[in-house]
Symmetry: C2
Subunit: 132 residues, 2 copies
């Protein structure tokens, strides 16, 4: 089963960016810091998906560099796929450009890979494994 797992949105200020979702009546998580990524995060669950608002905590973070170059806005789209290893195998065989060739393991043990925007209509596309 494919789903949109989350949208990662790069923002300068969580306080400002979360306002619209609160005003719409969505519930939002407490702010949390992810040291490894040098960001503070607020999650906004929306149906089976969620929005992740990402505010950089350092000028060196990937998100800070993205904002400096492109401004605030969508940073990545994360899709949950049924069989990540099989998907990566097929994409490699078909010449799709991945940001790294290896499946990585993130916080909480979730496995992921990024497809380069040049192979996905300008979108940085994360693929994560669906829960079993």
């Amino acid at each position: 089963m494919f789903t949109i797992d989350h949208l990662g949105i790069a923002v300068k200020s969580l306080a400002a960016a979360k306002g619209i979702y609160q005003k719409l009546g969505l519930s939002i998580s407490a702010e949390e810091t992810v040291e490894a990524e040098q960001v503070r995060v607020v999650m906004v669950p929306v149906g089976e998906s969620r929005l992740e608002l990402l505010e950089p905590t350092s000028e060196n973070s990937t998100i800070a560099k993205f904002i400096a170059k492109r401004g605030e806005g969508l940073h990545h789209v994360s899709l949950r796929v049924p069989d990540l290893a099989a998907a990566v195998e097929r994409l490699k065989k078909d010449g799709v450009r991945l940001v790294s060739e290896e499946i990585k393991v993130g916080a909480g043990g979730h496995r992921y890979v990024f497809v380069h925007p040049s192979s996905a209509g300008g979108v940085l596309l994360e693929l994560v494994e669906a829960k079993h």
Copy 2:
């Protein structure tokens, strides 16, 4: 009930952009032309949401201008909200910047409004009414 209705993705070529989703095993719609928006569209259903790949058919289309300025990538995020009129009323009262103050009626009778990116962390946010 809130859901992500769709993500609108501006692309130069549907043929190139849809490849990644076909390779992942997602089913995609036939190409369709929306004359009013001067785009050709491919829909990729993903769980309760869908991706809309948008290729301009004219240099004057909004999507062509977006690509010329920003390159390919996410154009808008569309959220389904339970009560659109109430949401718009509250947002206006709270000083949220809308692209147009009025709720518009699109193809198939769906009602929508756009929140300006300056009020939504750099994301052009469409609000559509949930089906009853």
